[in-house]
Symmetry: D2
Subunit: 284 residues, 4 copies
């Protein structure tokens, strides 16, 4: 049996759902999930479907090319077609904070995260022992103003060499180069330790403390060139009081960061995210 | 323009989505929303769709009969087809607590609840002034063991006479008769002041206090013959501490009850609920 | 029996709690609640206590002056001493939105809000019928650039005349004059329909929609001269998705606004709020 | 500097707070935190205080005996006095699930959990590699009906030998012996994977699925002889829908379990919990 996930978006018009579902049906596929959304402001149609093909002679590539010819091109769709056989390759970038790393590796080890992790990269050597405990290759790529060019090249080389599909910034405290952002558009997931758009930039817990908010948050988002302004994938919050010091907020926030990042990654891995106009559509 | 909502469920099989969507498309309808769910344990398929028909000569009744003949019968569907023109008639049953009643009437007055309210019924006269302030007919139908038969007949008469579509028990503290439950299957919405299935029955806040829980809840559900055991539509919770007295819990709980009941009603009015096997499917 | 609440803050030093509690004990009071907080950054001590005095010859005014002389002055405290007998007078300012008004009046009528409401004031006549249904005086004080001076004078006159203790802006869509803010420092409670400091100013739901956030919020705060920047009393949030239109957010947000405003008011009425450095201390 | 935490409870009477705070003050202590609670139903007074003693000649043991003689005995208090210098020893019991273990060890390694972990004990050998990766001794103590006596003795020996202060059951899927429960009263913390008292016993996610709840939860509690009925320390919940399979609930629940267990442990380690009448008082 082959299970495939199709993501499409195109100008909204009548008959798209009927065309797609009939096409899958004619190819002896069984649609087990379909969800769609229309952005009425912009007149854009989005759809995600999962289908199963049980017959032996199903050929993914001929299905793909026929879908392109008969469905995608007539409707001028942007589309992706993924087979569930494939396990995406996820690189993890870290600096010195270890809580998100521990959390991701725990989920990976217990089989919850359905990815391969070709390597962990850091601008500091501190977390190498954790990578070793989990038996994952660790690359220390220092990053300073003087050697930033060098570092960026090294990063891209490692990513290419290991055929990385997407990158997770698990509290990586360095700017990502424009080249990397362009190469991995909507494929770099960052965790920001505030409820965006509140407290953009560095030290959000300090700002939250100063403003006296009663709730703090965390946000996972795709990285774009503008700092902390990319499409939001997932957010969550937790209560604080006047009695919480900055240090207390940092500690409480760590749990949020871990969960919000993990949820964001899982949505991405399950192909449940689409991006349009700097916003995400998150399918259920 | 006519906008219709179709709800169906039937044995899961291949091609249902394609058949339904093609049928709507062939009738010049534009599907603006589709959501589906497969209960894999029981092999049951559920779907909800909204479609718009912009052409002048669209005829709802002939569409309905053709849908029945060409789609519903071949797949042996249970189905409903609703036109958005229709405003459902909602009766409210209350006793002495007024918070849910105030809340519902506030939402009704501001246009948030898209229903008509033919009357408010109570086993006590206390809330009559509120009904009057909002200019809604109020019927006082006393209910005691001795006159329960009489009361039940009176209730059914009022409901029939006003062609009531569904009933909201807004903290109505009386047992509902079997006759009424059967007549309005999945059409009586109750608010229970606990996080079901915890604390079934009377005085749930007292039980929650005694057990020392750190979170209390409220549940809106369809009424079935078994007390507090009907299909759950919506639930929500709020934190409490050791410092909350029973009275404090009651006060905090009121806000939950209001919101959880209102959400349950809105899901019902928007035709976003289906019931199968004593559970709800809640479409988004 | 007399029950009094004492709020104090002063420079942190050793022995304050012992001094205050011994003083109350010596005056035959029974402390039934005490909570304290030290702002370590600024070295400020905050305390709230509730005490009961059961003896017949307890005299509030002599207790007050002795407390001042023996405790408050030696420690250079800022302090308040409230008797629970007193019911604060709360004025409500509204414009055209009615949901917060309905909610507050429902709570008031059912005895949940322990205040008197001398009047409702609005810059529009629309909500007068609601005030009438609840039998509360309603004053229509139009407000435009040309007559702003006049309106401000009229507002202050009404507030003085009715000896108003604090003001609730229940979606009052007009700027509050500096004179009013100064006269009622930390006594004007506003509800802002976003999770501050995100989306300050007008149309926060539009901004939230545009940014694609996954959670929206509401904030009740004391009004200061800087717009939406006053001390936050309470905040809460609710989830939204890509499928929520601005209109959907507005509807969902209404429930948040009602609850977050009501909670803020209750904390204020219960004397559980203190303000320092543009932040609140909220006692439990 | 010495920092001590005092926990007391006794029959409620007038003057307790004044007596305790004056005593600390007279011993040149600075109270930096005080919180108290009166259980009005039972007439019991509870208090937690933190004090700092900066003078060089502070002697913990003489303070302790004087407190006993002058304060605790006159009021017939049950009391505990802890110095912050001491790091409690926490044993972890596991079976085959690893998510809570990974989470706790991650927190331990990053310094968030202020405990020593003398050993991890399991009735299965599966998680030994994790213990080794984190360099913590691991004892495999098999447990079957036939050898239950033997296993219980072995458990108690290990606990005594390592002077364990409290035990965490991190998804330990075995009954705890009465001897162990009596020996470690209010010192065994369990995580139950439901929102107690809903779904007591085995397979709560299956029951939650069957009942069709819209929210699932987790509960950390002290272990008593009655299954899943001990004093609740902390609870939290997360939303589910009809679309979540049992497997999905298990996955979502894991994140709850980790956090609710970690919070419960931290409250215990920080001496913020007291137990009375099978309920907890949780200080802030």
């Amino acid at each position: 049996m082959t299970k495939i996930t199709i993501l499409i978006h195109c100008k909204d018009t009548s008959g798209i759902i009927a065309s797609v579902t009939s096409f899958i049906h004619q190819n002896q596929g069984n649609i087990i999930y379909i969800d769609q959304h229309v952005d009425r402001q912009n007149g854009i149609f989005f759809m995600r479907s999962e289908s199963e093909f049980v017959h032996d002679n199903f050929d993914l590539e001929s299905f793909r090319s026929e879908f392109k010819y008969r469905i995608a091109e007539p409707y001028q769709m942007k589309w992706q077609l993924h087979s569930d056989d494939y396990r995406p390759k996820m690189a993890i970038f870290v600096s010195k904070y270890d809580h998100c790393l521990y959390d991701l590796l725990g989920r990976y080890n217990s089989g919850e995260l359905k990815v391969d992790i070709p390597f962990i990269l850091s601008n500091h050597p501190d977390l190498k022992p954790i990578a070793e405990a989990f038996k994952i290759p660790f690359f220390h790529v220092p990053y300073t103003k003087e050697i930033s060019q060098e570092a960026q090249i090294k990063q891209l080389q490692l990513l290419e060499q290991h055929q990385v599909d997407f990158i997770v910034l698990a509290r990586y405290m360095q700017i990502i180069s424009t080249a990397l952002i362009e190469r991995y558009e909507n494929k770099i997931i960052n965790i920001h330790h505030s409820f965006l758009p509140a407290f953009v930039g560095a030290k959000p817990y300090h700002s939250a403390y100063k403003r006296g908010v009663k709730i703090i948050g965390a946000t996972s988002h795709y990285v774009t060139k503008e700092l902390d302004a990319g499409p939001i994938i997932e957010q969550d919050v937790t209560r604080v009081t006047h009695a919480h010091s900055i240090e207390d907020m940092v500690t409480k926030g760590r749990d949020l960061e871990k969960i919000v990042l993990a949820r964001g990654i899982k949505l991405h891995v399950d192909r449940k995210t689409m991006v349009y106009n700097n916003k995400t559509i998150i399918f259920s």
